[in-house]
Point group: C2
Chain length 450, copies 2
């Protein structure tokens, strides 16, 4: 290590200057002096590439806007390419172009990484460069850095996260304001938390893409979006959020990756991977994560339970993560870690995924039952046949001979058995199908001991 | 960046093999293969230096135990020295010896760093080496890494943390079990959470030493323990925890560093630094941090509110942090960051600390008042004279003519004014001095906006 050399310039091409891009420009412009003091680096925006060249930022900014991404990437004065275009086609082409020139890429693009991560990481490695993707998950929460380095001495046993701010805002409104899903979604759209086409978020796909990235790092295997069982929040009904509340639970869209605990080594290395609305006990620290905040619980064999909390989206928080990667690149530590650590999906084996039917969890069931004698006996018989035992039942008095909700929670049961039981229950003439089935998470057991 | 070279050996001298040292040995031994796979590094314990050479670990471990720290440090096969002796004298000598040989040091020693950090960091720099100290604060929570890199694009506005597990265990028992301080302490000692001489913890000094380290990094200034106003939990009474609970607050020992918000630049760069039992609203996420857990809230200008949560002490969590630094050293990223970042106390200016009397905060007061007419008028007059306005009053009906507790909360007031008011109140013949004065924290305002 030598005395810090004279200030170096990091020439940047910023592709895309929407919400997050604008935040990056703001930090690099307004905090230029602070960053220079801290890092002895000068972060210089050489090109800002946008689709619409007429666009200008409010900030007083001399950097020329252009529409020519290729020219910006190729400019010899550019050392780093920040990709904030989104989508996979154009963004993928530009990322490839930069990597082939040996230029490091910083991206927030979870779609691109979850789809083509292994290929792009390999390309970066081949051209002696690297990819920074702190901004792809958890907004400003430095969870990628924590998994890469801070917790690197741990065998990770589980990762449970709220990683989609849009869904969390909607669920917070449903749970606190007792708004129906449609109203909560419309309000989230009005406030800019949800996009005009909200499907990527509410279907759970965005959450699954982030889980693919996070669990790949945490478990040192290659996880693809297709490996993950995905259920969104778009069919969630107010009634179930209310019943869950009565039972002491909060409903959250969770991304869950857990190491299967088998006796043999192979089983130990396989993973349960899932995204679905989940009942979480109100005493669990994740239950308090509301509005647009994200939080990721990581359970390490040595560190025990850790949790990382912060704003999961938005201009400035995500830009904070982009700038963290810029600093790591500028200092040279990020490339060193990238080139040596064998935790990235191009250097690891495909995940050994446990089929979803094998999941063992607790369940919440809501049946709409005709108020006739013997219904409950039929239902419990269907569950009993599958070896599923009940934990609690909640049934209201009937008013006026309509169907009444019967809410059941179970002890641990196999997913396959539960699906078989529901099929049988929904075929009963006394039940108005489809019944609602949600999963209850037991907070992963902590192995760390003082 | 080249293709990963053949596996390199990192030769380690471990000084001290108590609780944390044992954890380090356990991870390096049991997770040897996992660490090798991840990092392509072989972490080899060359020496374990203990005071009592008869001591042996349960683990099957070939490393020789010795009592000769100097010989272990000097061994050419040793690339890294891990100092887990504690204290400042011997530990300081060994750290110096290693640094002078150009060998990096990893330490969990907050006393040493808060007392001699600037000097030792400078020494490391002079000899082209570095110090890793992730384990010095927050146990296994990678908060040092987050402040060093993950949040490096932020101007930090505030840092508020629960960083002493012992105190948090005691406060949890007082608050949940309604045990008096002495009983809660005795139980914490019995369980191994508190030491035989608990003063370092319960006096708040350990918390202050950690705050010195964390705030130095967060605000890029040099903070010493003496810069911090310190009050411990050892005089805390059950009654105040109960009244606080009635008012919707939980009492926690908080480490607080806040940037003073002035109009001129100098004022903006000055800090409030304090450690004291604090009333925190029960809805605040820190209020839920119980038992031996730690949590640190960091407020960045871009990222907004982030929180880092986990076990703040214990063998394995702290060892997890030591191993994280080992990996950073082995990969070379930690030395690169250490040599270039100008955030360590040897490269920054002394903190500009706002005198404690200038603090503006809300207060909780408990007075023991004789049940006579006019007492409350005298008390409110004393507060009024100092410009302090009341937010709430709680007074119980008297039973049998004794002194009755009068609990008052205030709006924002100056510390100096409050101390003057209390002096006046305690001099009243109708008041049984000393009155109890605790501070209420308002969760720092978040500047980040989506």
């Amino acid at each position: 290590m030598a005395t810090p050399a004279a200030q170096r310039s990091i020439g940047i091409a910023l592709l895309g200057c929407g919400v997050v891009g604008g935040g990056v420009v703001k930090i690099l412009t307004e905090q230029r002096e602070m960053l220079r003091c801290r890092t002895n680096l000068s972060f210089d925006l050489r090109h800002i590439v946008v689709r619409n060249p007429g666009k200008r930022l409010a900030a007083n900014m001399p950097t020329p806007f252009s529409t020519d991404a290729a020219a910006a990437i190729d400019d010899p004065a550019v050392n780093v390419v920040i990709e904030l275009i989104g989508g996979t086609d154009l963004a993928g082409q530009y990322v490839e172009r930069a990597l082939r020139l040996g230029k490091p890429v910083i991206t927030a693009n979870k779609s691109l990484l979850s789809q083509r991560g292994a290929e792009l990481f390999a390309m970066a490695r081949k051209h002696n460069t690297c990819i920074g993707f702190e901004a792809s998950c958890g907004g400003g929460v430095p969870i990628i850095n924590a998994l890469r380095m801070g917790l690197a001495g741990n065998r990770i046993d589980a990762l449970v996260g709220i990683v989609n701010g849009t869904c969390n805002v909607i669920l917070t409104r449903m749970s606190r304001n007792r708004w129906a899903y449609d109203r909560a979604l419309a309000e989230a759209q009005r406030q800019g938390y949800a996009e005009a086409d909200p499907m990527m978020d509410v279907s759970g796909r965005d959450t699954a893409q982030k889980l693919a990235i996070l669990s790949s790092l945490a478990f040192n295997v290659r996880v693809r979006e297709e490996d993950i069982h995905i259920e969104g929040i778009d069919h969630l009904q107010m009634a179930d959020i209310e019943f869950a509340g009565e039972l002491g639970y909060v409903v959250k869209l969770l991304a869950i990756a857990e190491r299967a605990r088998g006796k043999d080594r192979a089983a130990n290395d396989s993973l349960f991977l899932r995204v679905h609305p989940t009942l979480i006990h109100r005493d669990d620290v994740l239950a308090d994560v509301s509005e647009a905040f994200n939080a990721i619980s990581v359970y390490g064999h040595a560190v025990g339970h850790t949790l990382f909390y912060g704003r999961g989206a938005g201009a400035m928080p995500t830009a904070s993560a982009v700038v963290a990667d810029l600093i790591g690149l500028g200092l040279g530590s990020l490339p060193l870690e990238f080139s040596q650590l064998r935790i990235f999906p191009d250097t690891t084996e495909p995940a050994n995924v446990v089929p979803f039917e094998e999941l063992q969890t607790r369940y919440y069931l809501r049946l709409m039952a005709k108020d006739e004698p013997g219904v409950l006996a039929q239902v419990t018989a269907a569950l009993g046949t599958q070896g599923i035992s009940l934990s609690a039942i909640l049934q209201r008095e009937n008013s006026a001979g309509q169907c009444v909700p019967v809410v059941i929670t179970t002890h641990l049961a196999r997913e396959g058995a539960m699906q078989a039981a529901i099929k049988q229950i929904d075929a009963l003439p006394t039940i108005q199908a489809p019944s609602v089935c949600l999963r209850i998470i037991e907070t992963p057991r902590e192995f760390a001991e003082g």
